[in-house]
């Protein structure tokens, strides 16, 4: 069967992507930093009407049109949008590839009749894209090169087997050749593809090298060119359908065990581990039940995951029965094969991770935390508390002066002077000071804005009282006051 290729080109994808989400009154442009300057990358129609052009410097554009509104170019968003367009285009044919950063190729041979012929299909594409506020140019031809040329320079449809005639009047620039080759050809008086094709091949080859000839042959179909379709993202899900509905927790667990076996095989093949699993039980009355399991670390060991499901499965309301189980790994990450001993840190065992998972399903996995050292001499910033499931216990605790076990926001104490008072009241208790150790002066980190450190430097004292309490007090000499901030055991 003859190949038929559709080329879609979205000339103002970057700006339309933004305009779809937010309305801008007046001219609008997307600006990117190109060649040491901010230049217009993509324009709205209103901006084009005002005489602005692509590639124009932003300063020039402002002088033409002072009210222009701009947004910085976001390449990642564009790529993501192009990917979603690829996914959308798979409704027309399974063979979809990307063309540059703002276009698509579709090999529609054999699928056009499903939409009522080529014309009806192109009409359908255009209607859907216009409805979603996208400008599109469409070319259809036998070859990738010709479809590209038609999309950008002619917008039309070349009938099967007549590609040569359809593109012969198009300019040579439509052959995807470099700007330099284009200029040279124009200087030589070769304006259209038809003229180029009529020249003796040997002379073109001598003058321009193989690239121009290759592009010409690709457009005319004398040389093959492939569309490389995007691979589908790998999904990890398995399902099990029963001939008869089941209702016992034991049966569901047996089903989960079978599903896990298959899922874990798949994960093992790809060296992946699962972080979040969800089990969806389809009930015969349509009320689906879902159990989510968040693991404390990536796993692909069936024996370890299965018992963790027990609690969730016990909570399922089976109603009149469950007739399908689906197990989906909603979050996976790369899990390399690990050496069993030595590589693990002292307090990291498999059992501990399982316990974290079980506790995490009750109190939230992010609420199980560990202490990590931080680079700061401010007492409350000298450590961080981070979720244990996503951090490793690394780093050493610096050797500092003794610090209190309990730390709290500073509590005011009525006292005067630069040395700790002999008697003071704190938390409705009165104290007599027995011994003081200090002072240790800590200055605020001026490079960080901290509300609590507005009073300037602090002189910390360890105050041991005759009543027994050992308090961590500080004095702020720049704004004389006394506070208690911590308790030693």
């Amino acid at each position: 069967m003859k190949r038929r290729v559709v080329s879609l080109w979205f000339p103002s994808m970057s700006s339309e992507l933004i305009l779809r989400k937010k309305h801008y009154e007046g001219p609008f442009a997307v600006v990117a930093h190109i060649k040491n300057g901010n230049r217009l990358l993509c324009l709205s129609t209103m901006a084009e009407q005002r005489g602005l052009k692509r590639g124009m410097g932003l300063a020039d554009a402002r002088s033409f049109c002072p009210e222009i509104q701009t947004v910085e170019h976001n390449l990642q968003a564009d790529v993501a949008f192009q990917n979603s367009l690829v996914r959308w285009a798979k409704r027309y044919c399974p063979w979809v590839g990307k063309s540059g950063i703002d276009g698509l190729y579709l090999d529609v041979a054999g699928s056009a009749h499903l939409f009522g012929g080529e014309d009806a299909m192109l009409h359908d594409m255009r209607a859907r894209l216009i409805r979603s506020k996208l400008t599109v140019r469409i070319g259809l031809a036998d070859t990738v090169g010709a479809a590209w040329a038609l999309a950008r320079f002619g917008e039309g449809c070349a009938e099967g087997g007549r590609t040569g005639q359809a593109i012969s009047a198009l300019p040579v620039a439509s052959l995807r050749i470099s700007a330099k080759e284009d200029t040279t050809l124009q200087r030589l008086g070769v304006k259209t593809i038809g003229q180029l094709a009529n020249l003796p091949r040997a002379t073109i080859g001598q003058r321009f090298g193989p690239s121009v000839l290759m592009r010409l042959d690709q457009a005319l179909g004398d040389q093959s060119e492939s569309i490389s379709p995007e691979a589908n993202p790998q999904t990890y899900s398995t399902r099990l359908t029963f001939p008869e509905p089941i209702g016992l927790a034991k049966d569901v667990m047996a089903g989960v065990e079978r599903l896990l076996l298959r899922l874990c095989e798949k994960l093992t093949q790809d060296m992946m581990g699962v972080r979040v699993l969800s089990l969806i039980c389809r009930r015969i009355d349509g009320a689906d039940q879902q159990v989510e399991l968040r693991l404390a670390r990536a796993l692909r060991d069936q024996q370890r995951i299965l018992p963790l499901f027990k609690k969730g499965v016990d909570g399922i309301d089976a109603g009149f029965g469950i007739d399908q189980l689906r197990l989906v790994a909603t979050q996976v990450e790369v899990l390399q094969v690990e050496q069993v001993a030595h590589s693990q840190t002292q307090y990291n065992s498999d059992g501990l991770h399982d316990l974290m998972t079980r506790l995490g399903n009750r109190i939230g996995l992010e609420n199980i935390q560990r202490f990590l050292p931080a680079e700061s001499h401010i007492p409350e910033n000298s450590f961080i508390v981070s979720p244990a499931a996503w951090s490793e216990s690394v780093g050493s605790w610096g050797n500092v002066n003794p610090r209190p076990i309990r730390l709290f926001p500073p509590e005011y104490v009525a006292a005067r002077g630069h040395r700790p008072p002999n008697r003071f009241n704190w938390r409705a208790m009165s104290f007599t000071v027995g011994r003081i150790i200090g002072p240790e002066r800590i200055a605020p980190e001026w490079w960080l804005e901290d509300e609590n450190w507005r009073h300037g430097v602090r002189d910390y004292w360890k105050v041991e009282t005759l009543e027994g309490h050992r308090l961590w007090m500080f004095h702020t000499p720049q704004n004389p006051n006394w506070f208690v901030q911590g308790v030693f055991a």
């Binding site: 506790l359 109190i363 360890k462 309490h469 030693f488």
Partner: protein
């Protein structure tokens, strides 16, 4: 027969214990230092008084501690029971804000027996449960020549009599030692 310090400390494993008083956190920290395994420290998330690793490192390695922030007191008890029953951590510390009922205490005791781990509940004065193995009242004591002295009073003991000791932390040996009686006497005099 009078109870000896070595009979009751380090805390008896496969049991749960209670501690009260101003020095309860220091006591918990010393208990962490007595084990080489991971420790889980459960508390309610709204508390603004935090335990600091820099303070804990006097007695133990802060890396061995996992913190669990629970939303309410019921969750603290449930998580404590789960952790004790699993047996993968050698010590489970929980900060309780409400009185511990006899049922709850008994359940913790059973969970600790199954898992073989030690439980330590930090409770407020008079809020403990009779199911506990031991209950300690810990308060720091002023001493003219040492700044780590504490009085550890054993208020309840299922397997012996009650007693009270003055103890100190030995920085070089990294362990608790009991101050000999005659030193105490001269101190007081």
């Amino acid at each position: 027969m009078l109870v000896r310090f070595s009979d009751v400390f380090p805390l008896k494993p496969s049991r749960y214990h209670e501690v009260t008083g101003a020095g309860a956190y220091g006591f918990a920290s010393v208990c962490c230092g007595n084990t080489r395994n991971a420790v889980i420290w459960l508390s309610e998330g709204w508390m603004h008084e935090v335990v600091t690793p820099l303070g804990l490192q006097t007695h133990c390695d802060p890396h061995q501690i996992l913190i669990g922030k629970c939303s309410n007191s019921t969750d603290v008890l449930a998580a404590t029971e789960e952790a004790l029953r699993s047996g993968v951590v050698s010590l489970v510390i929980a900060e309780l804000t409400k009185p511990l009922s006899l049922t709850a205490g008994r359940r913790l005791q059973l969970a600790a027996e199954v898992g073989g781990s030690t439980g330590l509940m930090i409770v407020k004065d008079g809020m403990g449960s009779n199911a506990t193995q031991t209950r300690w009242d810990v308060s720091p004591v002023y001493s003219s020549d040492d700044s780590t002295q504490m009085r550890w009073s054993l208020n309840k003991n299922k397997s012996g009599t009650n007693s009270s000791w003055d103890v100190r932390w030995d920085e070089t040996a990294r362990r608790i030692f009991v101050v000999p009686q005659h030193v105490q006497r001269t101190d007081i005099a």
